[in-house]
Amino acid sequence: MANGTNKLALIASRGSLDWAYPPFILATAAAAMGWDVGIFFTFYGLPLLKKELNAKVSPLGNPAMPMKMPFGPEGFQNFNWPMPNLIMAGLPGFENVATSLMKKTFKNKGVATVNELRDMAVDLDVRLIACQMTMDVFGFKKEEFIEQAEIGGAATFLEFAADANVSLFV
């Protein structure tokens, strides 16, 4: 690459389905432009490195999240369903329903899955750093992660980020 000096350093701190997208989208786009990219997975972002990705989305606590149906006529699909927090909190299985609706809507629109984006990131040599401290605190083992994940701490990430042009906390 003619311009191999640009560098993107990301911290992925959230592991829900919606928040899994921004770090992987930015990482793959930057890598596609020839940038050096590294992502530090910490706290709730750490499960995004697990072999079996199981990211879910909860509308609870996401008050601005549109609730859309991925089927039916266009007007029906575009309708934003008003879902009071009380209902979402009280209905068992609501998180699973919301997760499958979001996955279906994304698929219909041609958005890649988190799995596909992560595979792409691996393919494009994005550095994936798992936070050792979070692993210890929440009881994750290296064997649970994809083999491309490396283990590191805050200093490992900061050394990588020291000369990054763009650093973002997601």
Partner: protein, 76 residues
């Protein structure tokens, strides 16, 4: 003259058109032309940005009414 390769990214959304373009360019020879077709409206500004960053030459970009067509020359 280099050869021309076509990459159809219709139906794919950001960042896949850019990612697939980058991957395809890597497999090509210097001087080859890549024709990329996309339906993602974000491709218009994104392909320009991608070309600026990678220094490959964006020869043409057309909005053909919901379909976007780009010609890119591999320069290095």
């Amino acid at each position: 003259m280099g050869k021309q390769i076509t990459l159809d990214c219709s139906g794919l959304m950001c960042p896949m058109p850019v990612v697939k373009t980058a991957k395809t360019i890597k497999t090509m020879e210097i001087g080859d032309i890549l024709e990329m077709i996309s339906t993602d409206a974000g491709s218009m500004p994104d392909m320009q940005a991608w070309a600026n960053q990678t220094k490959h030459e964006l020869l043409e970009s057309h909005d053909e009414g919901g379909k976007f067509r780009f010609l890119i020359k591999k320069t290095h």
